[in-house]
């Protein structure tokens, strides 16, 4: 009996010891500034990420040629201390500052940027933001790999990397000239894959045949295996003139290119670090080499990312936070609880239902100041399917939408009703609005389309990704359409993954979508809707529209260019493949003691500018920069 009791006691003691180890073994000293970074970051690799939470970390640990200013997010000098832009707006020469250093002490050179931009557009990297670099001469062709090649092109054949090397080391490169591409597949087979082509490349006067295949795959006699065949990278418009001078050439004068360069995909990465540790090991805190204001010191999955001020950063004198914690808390109520109990200093998105109450509190809160944001919420209409292939029906659906009611009832943080796709406050741009709520005109149009009072109108379905707020909006839209047009709509929700697929494959009639502007220019919204655009998702295609977008890209004159973009949006609103619903507002809650935090359109708040005023407590009436009124 005693024996068994001992086992129980031993188990109990062991259990307690394990609990103690798991709890205390993972303790970190408190940080100076703690914020809720929403979800667990997918990666800290600048080329692989697309989300805002990832961006907050990457912007803190890496710095591009230019960096976003804290107040308005426009580009300001980063690693480049100055630059020249040619008169035609197509060539940029960046002069890198001599004191820019990596966290291991190496200088940041033009070659680092060359390496990083090549990596960003390498099809093997499969960066979702590779297209941001497509403004650079030939970058698009390079990033699309073999499918963008035509005979006569100078090419680089990347052989399969040698076994045993880290997976970040490229295979051996053979430069040559593409003679022709033979297709191995017979034409009956469904889709041609890049793996079924044989690239005939002339090199040193000899023709060699290459096929994308692994060393273990079978290939025909006389064909060599390779990893990929790309345009010769020397054709791409990026060049390191010397260690401290980088030249970037663009296809078209792109007025927002500098702002775009401040965006995280263009952050440099350290080649030595990548090639020593391989992927993904190079991103670990003990391996990673960074060049930003902060270093990555610890990462605990779904708990926090810990950053520490970098001693090698050129502008370290102006970085005032020492230790920063980014918490991965994706439950909004939990995030708010942490804020309310003083454990965090910045919450990005409080729960919608609480936010509505907080906004009404009297006296007004000193830590909440919603401001317009560069994000539009809209409904996609599938223009390939009846009845939505009829423009009159699409317009009627838009006219019957009472957006005021939606922002009043369903959203509630002061969102602004949207009558255009492009959000307000784009510099030099006048939004092209669609007709506001007008049930009379909507009924008339629907009658013209053959459905008087909604009679004979097929039942339509509104698709949204599973979320309380999207559901509330969809229900309201259904009610409004029923009320104003007499048509019935049903709702369907899908979880995120399936929802993405349905949008891509146009497996819906009406679906919700939102777009966060990648840069401060209407183009980020408007170029989505070119024929077969990857993010078009409506089946909409219009030759005149495509021409306008292409013309705008070529136009060097700012005002003329904006006029062209305005006519593009006018056309889009007249054709109405999408119905704009509302513009987002930022919903940050920031403690009064936090300084250097500004409301801005892209809702990007660089950590290097933030500091804590120790003399201010939560009750301070004195507003910080964040509480300054917004126009």
């Amino acid at each position: 009996m005693l024996g068994r009791t001992w086992i129980l006691f031993a188990m109990f003691a062991g259990g307690l010891a394990a609990v103690g180890w798991a709890v205390y073994g993972s303790r970190l000293p408190p940080a100076d500034f703690t914020f809720i970074n929403e979800t667990e970051v997918a990666s800290v690799d600048p080329a692989l990420i697309t989300g805002q939470p990832e961006g907050r970390i990457v912007h803190a640990i890496f710095e591009g040629l230019v960096r976003p200013r804290a107040d308005n997010n426009r580009a300001e000098p980063g690693v480049a201390e100055k630059w020249e832009i040619s008169d035609d707006g197509r060539t940029y020469i960046f002069h890198l500052r001599p004191d820019a250093r990596w966290s291991n002490g190496d200088p940041v050179t033009a070659h680092d940027f060359l390496y990083s931009i090549r990596r960003l557009i390498d099809p093997q990297t499969a960066s979702r933001y590779a297209y941001q670099a497509w403004y650079i001469v030939n970058a698009k062709r390079y990033s699309l790999g073999g499918s963008a090649l035509t005979p006569g092109d100078p090419v680089e054949v990347e052989l399969n990397p040698l076994d045993g090397l880290p997976n970040t080391v490229r295979g051996k490169l053979l430069l040559g000239k593409l003679v022709r591409i033979d297709s191995r597949t017979s034409s009956q087979e469904k889709s041609e894959s890049s793996r079924d082509r044989v690239y005939v490349v002339e090199r040193d006067g000899k023709e060699r045949h290459f096929q994308i295949a692994e060393e273990s795959d079978n290939v025909a006699q006389g064909v060599e295996r390779c990893r990929q065949v790309l345009l010769d990278f020397r054709e791409v418009g990026v060049r390191a003139i010397d260690n401290r001078t980088l030249e970037i050439r663009l296809d078209e004068p792109t007025p927002y290119f500098l702002d775009l360069l401040a965006f995280y995909p263009f952050s440099p990465v350290h080649r030595g670090c990548l090639e020593k540790h391989g992927k993904p090991a190079w991103t670990r805190p003990e391996n990673i080499v960074t060049n930003g204001a902060f270093r990555l010191v610890a990462r605990r999955i779904r708990d926090r990312v810990r950053l520490q001020r970098s001693e090698n950063y050129w502008d370290r004198a102006n970085v005032r936070l020492n230790v920063v914690d980014a918490l991965s808390v994706d439950n909004r109520s939990t995030a708010l609880n942490l804020y309310m109990t003083g454990m965090v200093d910045w919450v990005t998105v409080p729960p919608a239902e609480v936010l509505r109450e907080l906004l009404k509190s009297e006296p007004p809160r000193n830590d909440l100041n919603p401001a317009p944001q560069l994000t539009t919420y809209y409904y996609l209409l599938n223009t390939t399917r009846p009845p939505l292939d009829d423009k009159r029906v699409r317009l009627a659906l838009g006219l019957a939408l009472d957006r005021e009611e939606i922002t009043r009832v369903a959203t509630g943080a002061g969102e602004k009703p949207a009558l255009s796709l492009v959000p307000p406050s784009m510099p030099n741009y006048e939004q092209q609005k669609c007709q506001p709520f007008n049930p009379e005109a909507a009924r008339k149009l629907l009658a013209e389309a053959g459905y008087p009072d909604g009679r004979g109108f097929p039942k339509i379905e509104i698709l949204y990704n599973t979320d309380q707020q999207h559901q509330a909006i969809a229900e309201l839209v259904r009610k409004q359409w029923q009320r104003e047009l007499g048509i019935t709509a049903s709702l369907r929700n899908e979880e995120w993954g399936s929802f993405q697929d349905s949008q891509q494959q146009l497996k819906f009639l009406v679906a919700r979508r939102a777009w966060v502007g990648d840069y401060l220019d209407p183009n980020t919204y408007l170029d989505m809707f070119v024929t077969d655009g990857e993010n078009n998702c409506t089946g909409f295609g219009n030759a005149a529209y495509d021409t306008l977008i292409a013309d705008a890209a070529k136009e060097p004159d700012v005002e003329k260019r904006m006029k062209i973009l305005e006519s593009a949006e006018r056309l889009l609103m007249d054709e109405m493949p999408i119905i704009p619903v509302y513009f987002y507002v930022s919903r940050n809650m920031v403690r009064p003691k936090v300084r250097g935090f500004y409301n801005n359109l892209q809702d990007t708040h660089p950590l290097n500018a933030i500091w804590i005023d120790p003399n201010v407590d939560d009750k301070a009436p004195r507003p910080n920069e964040y509480m300054e009124p917004v126009q």
């Binding site: 068994r4 109990f12 259990g15 394990a18 609990v19 180890w21 798991a22 709890v23 205390y24 993972s26 303790r27 970190l28 667990e40 997918a42 990666s43 800290v44 690799d45 692989l48 697309t50 099809p123 499969a126 979702r128 933001y129 297209y131 990033s143 699309l144 790999g145 073999g146 499918s147 890049s194 793996r195 993904p280 670990r284 990462r299 605990r300 999955i301 779904r302 708990d303 918490l327 991965s328 808390v329 994706d330 439950n331 109520s333 939990t334 609880n337 942490l338 309310m340 109990t341 454990m343 979880e495 995120w496 993954g497 399936s498 993405q500 697929d501 349905s502 891509q504 990857e534 993010n535």
Partner: protein, 305 residues
């Protein structure tokens, strides 16, 4: 006994294989994939992504490849947490979920057993009635309600515990109690029934007839027998609690494994989802095996074959 263990081991391998196969097929049957995202990739680049994950290969090749990897103990890289291997995700999350689980279970067993025994010994009394009503409420209330109420009470009204997070003992208390209360309630009911059953057995009456006190009889003679249904319940419960609770971990921002289960499925993180499913299967199977072994210890009449 040896044969029993060997048979169970073979059963374990078969179970893991079946679970692997079914999960593998289910994952590929649902729409979407690890490459779908809000910013869409041009077709040629999507092909590269698929190639990297071998999703461009015929399904039987994918199956063989993944099975081979798993047999060598490598679950591969997470398809959505790009910086981590599945093994790392599990190595970071499992100790935390397990620590929380052990703490919650100790609380649940202590509370549940005491309540069950008291209820059984004083059947029909006010104490029995009160305890069992509490237990019924405990079972009926979903854990997010209990968590919400306890946060309102002990974080905002009487600020004794932190709202969320991980790293101190105080942060452990609320989630453990919320997580444990459901199990405590179940255990109390099961223990009561088991105890009542055991108390009516002949050997208990014999012990009483020999003149032993009521308490001694209850604890020495009746309790081991009464533990059998509790242990059967605890086996699968331990497996579930060690791999983390989705709701509790989310509400209290605890970096355990629980939320990964949901996220991996939603985001089509094939490798992580597979790792977690197999881990859960392994734990569940092991716990059931331990339960069977413990029958032999608790009840001398049980023979393991």
């Amino acid at each position: 006994m040896i044969w029993f263990i060997v048979r169970r081991l073979i059963g374990l391998v078969l179970t893991l294989w079946v679970v692997f196969t079914v999960s593998f097929l289910l994952m590929r049957a649902v729409p979407g994939g690890p490459y779908s995202g809000e910013r869409n990739l041009p077709p040629e680049i999507e092909e590269n992504v698929k190639h990297r994950y071998r999703l461009d290969r015929p399904i039987y090749e994918q199956y063989g490849f993944e099975l081979g990897n798993i047999l060598s103990g490598d679950f591969g890289q997470s398809m959505r947490l790009y910086d981590f291997d599945v093994n790392q995700v599990i190595a970071q999350g499992l100790p935390i979920s397990a620590a929380l689980g052990i703490f919650a279970l100790s609380f649940a067993v202590t509370l549940g057993l005491s309540a069950g025994i008291v209820s059984a010994l004083y059947r029909g009394s006010l104490a029995d009635w009160a305890l069992m009503s509490l237990a019924t409420i405990g079972i009926a209330l979903p854990s997010f309600v209990i968590a919400g109420l306890s946060i309102m009470l002990f974080v905002f009204l009487i600020p004794v515990f932190p709202a969320a997070g991980w790293g101190t003992f105080r942060q452990l208390v609320l989630p453990a109690v919320c997580l444990g209360s459901l199990y405590a309630a179940e255990i109390a009911r099961i223990a009561r029934t088991g105890m009542l059953d055991a108390m009516s057995q002949d050997y208990v009456r014999t012990a009483r007839a020999k003149g032993l006190s009521k308490l001694a009889v209850a604890l020495r003679h009746a309790l081991p027998g009464a533990m059998m249904p509790v242990v059967s319940f605890l086996g699968p419960a331990v497996a579930g609690i060690l791999t983390g609770s989705v709701v509790i971990e989310r509400i209290f921002a605890i970096p355990g494994l629980g939320w990964h289960f949901v996220q991996a499925a939603l985001q089509r993180d094939y490798t992580l989802a597979m790792g977690l499913v197999l881990l859960y299967t392994l734990l569940l199977y092991t716990m059931n095996f331990l339960v069977d072994l413990s029958y032999g210890i608790l009840d001398p009449r049980v023979e393991l074959k």
